[in-house]
């Protein structure tokens, strides 16, 4: 048996890193690493031919400024030490590459593939027609290929219920209630525009298990919601004020919460409108009511809050129930990461166990029981919450961990005869056409051109074959 040597970067030998996932977590880690460590080569993979993860597929179409971060990513991609390798899936049974392939070709691996699934309520009729996740709805209107065949009874009902009170819940409520002509100017897909233009939805209820102090949406999004034209705001203001008063001292110590509660208590100026959005509290869904497989309503158990300090209060069922008629239910209770063979996974917390971004042997391992050359950043590392700045900071933390390991010459992945080989020929041999960043820019240019012709910033391709078709020689 050959004695294995551990690879470390030397002056002549670059540090070779593979990144799985091309969203903000991956890009920001690379941004920091390339800046602080000269002798680096990075290959970044994405299952889709197009990069940027949730910046492309999660950020709402009416928030284009948030997507300006793509310019930072373009700069990372301009660095000759960096390569984007799109259309290459890693780690699923049908993927062209497995983690073992990456281990052979790279000194270290960085997993930033985020959270592609959503949490379920686990209640009856969750799969009825008209019930789906906010994640799927967002993927659908943002052009994510796997969600394009979503069908929803938008024309058959005037009432939608969104379960959850985070920023994603407000995003979907806002998209359902925004005047269609405003949406026409965004990069929402044509198919979604068509469906939403026929929507009869006038009332959207955003429902949480606990109270206003436990809502996870932030002030900017609430402010936007309260400014929607022709949309009344309805909530039990008296009870909200009571809750705020009961915890005034604690609220005043936290600036963001204080401002959020202040805005909520203030409500909406000149509160009239044909459409409405509602905040409902203390309700846990226990069953989706269906009629012949179509959503007809939702049943809640009413809760009470138990606990002294608001950040520790729990929702406890009272045994009383309430039914609400509606035709659409969107659950917005969180995204979920999937495990990948070859990478330790904490199924309970839905993330990869790690110490400051360095992957641990197992969920129960001690903080210093790490795997050489295995790193993670972003939602996969800390769970699926937070905005882009949180992910940026998190990614920089992981980059700093990698930089410290390089400085200390900590062991990376065991050396391998294939280590210096380019992995691209292997991908091609296995029948897959990898897509470079230059190729992506051609796809993007076609999306811009198509969009301009119909008065939108871009019109996204919504299938992988359509994306790849742009790259075929004429």
């Amino acid at each position: 048996m050959l004695k294995r040597t551990f690879a470390t970067a030397t002056r002549s030998r670059p540090f070779r890193l593979a990144v799985v996932g091309s969203g903000p977590a991956g890009f920001y880690t690379c941004h920091r690493l390339l800046k602080e460590h000269d002798n680096t080569q990075i290959d970044m993979f994405d299952a889709l031919p197009v990069p940027h993860g949730l910046v492309r597929y999660g950020v709402a179409p009416d928030h284009p400024e948030v997507k300006n971060v793509m310019t930072t990513f373009d700069k990372v991609a301009e660095d000759p030490r960096f390569r984007f390798i799109g259309n290459v899936s890693v780690g699923t049974p049908t993927s062209v590459l497995q983690v073992a392939d990456l281990k052979a070709h790279y000194d270290a691996l960085l997993f930033t593939y985020g959270a592609s699934e959503d949490r379920h309520l686990g209640i009856p009729n969750e799969d009825a027609y008209g019930s789906t996740s906010a994640r799927t709805f967002v993927g659908w209107y943002n052009g994510l290929p796997r969600d394009q065949d979503l069908q929803l009874p938008l024309q058959d009902t005037d009432t939608a219920v969104v379960i959850g009170q985070g920023n994603v819940a407000l995003d979907v409520a806002r998209i359902l209630l925004t005047p269609i002509d405003d949406l026409r100017k965004t990069d929402i897909t044509e198919a979604a525009l068509e469906a939403l233009s026929k929507s009869k939805i006038k009332n959207v209820h955003v429902v949480g298990r606990r109270g206003p102090l436990q809502a996870s949406f932030t002030t900017k999004e609430l402010r936007e919601q309260l400014s929607l034209p022709n949309v009344r705001f309805e909530a039990d203001q008296q009870w909200i004020q009571q809750q705020i008063a009961a915890h005034e001292d604690a609220i005043n110590k936290q600036r963001p919460l204080k401002r959020l509660m202040g805005l909520l208590a203030k409500g909406r100026k000149d509160n009239t409108g044909d459409k409405s959005w509602h905040l409902k509290f203390l309700r846990s869904p226990v069953e989706i009511l269906a009629d012949n497989g179509n959503v007809s309503g939702i049943r809640y158990e009413m809760n009470e809050l138990q606990g002294e300090s608001f950040d520790k209060q729990r929702a406890v069922g009272t045994g009383q129930f309430e039914d609400q008629a509606c035709g659409l239910v969107l659950r917005s209770i969180g995204y979920k990461s999937m495990p990948m063979p070859g990478v330790p996974f904490d199924a309970k917390r839905g993330l990869v166990p790690n110490a400051y971004g360095k992957i641990l042997q197992s969920p129960d391992a001690a903080q210093d029981d790490t795997l050489p050359g295995m790193y993670t950043a972003g939602w996969l590392k800390r769970g699926p919450t937070g905005v882009i700045v949180s992910t940026m900071s998190d990614a920089y933390d992981t980059a700093d961990t990698i930089l410290t390991d390089l400085k200390n010459e900590s062991p990376m992945l065991p050396d391998d005869p294939q280590r210096s080989d380019d992995i691209v020929p292997l991908i091609q041999q296995r029948g897959v056409q990898p897509v470079s960043y230059r190729d992506w820019k051609k796809i993007e240019a076609a999306e811009f051109a198509h969009g301009v012709s119909i008065g939108k910033p871009r019109e996204k391709f919504t299938s992988v074959p359509d994306m790849l078709h742009v790259l075929q020689p004429n």
Binding site: N68, V69, E78, R81, R255, L260, V389, M392, Y396, R438
Partner: protein, 166 residues
Amino acid sequence: MTLLRLVQHHAPVFKAAARNNSYKPSMMRSFSTFGALLHGKPGVAKGDGPYTVHFVTPEGETIDVKATEGDTMLDLAQRYDIDLECACEGSLACSTCHVICDEDYYEKMEEPSDEENDMLDLAFGLTDTSRLGCQIEMCKDLDGITVRIPSATRNLRVDGSKPVHH
């Protein structure tokens, strides 16, 4: 705020490329579709301006720069190659250009707008004299101001503690 974007290339990239024999770098490429951020305002060069601004980096280094009327802290950081993130490029959609000002100078500034305060709410290490760097515009009153750029990372390992949230 829309600004033309031009491509900016940096010399150090060539050094790294030459060192790697096994990796064949492509020609210098530019991917920015929109053009590049003109550093500060059009026609303003490094060293221009009647005003002085002192930047303090997360590492504690002080960098003194000249500024003209209307330059934002973000404009200056980009003109003088000082590291200040700007994920949303000055459109009040993020908090990555968060800076901390001298109290004296902070008092001279106008109150931040609701929109700026909404973004500041999400900044790490928020202080009572925090502002977004893209929103502070230079004028005579602010001549000589010192702005400190807080660390972007949470530095959990340094002392083992977590940041205090406001």
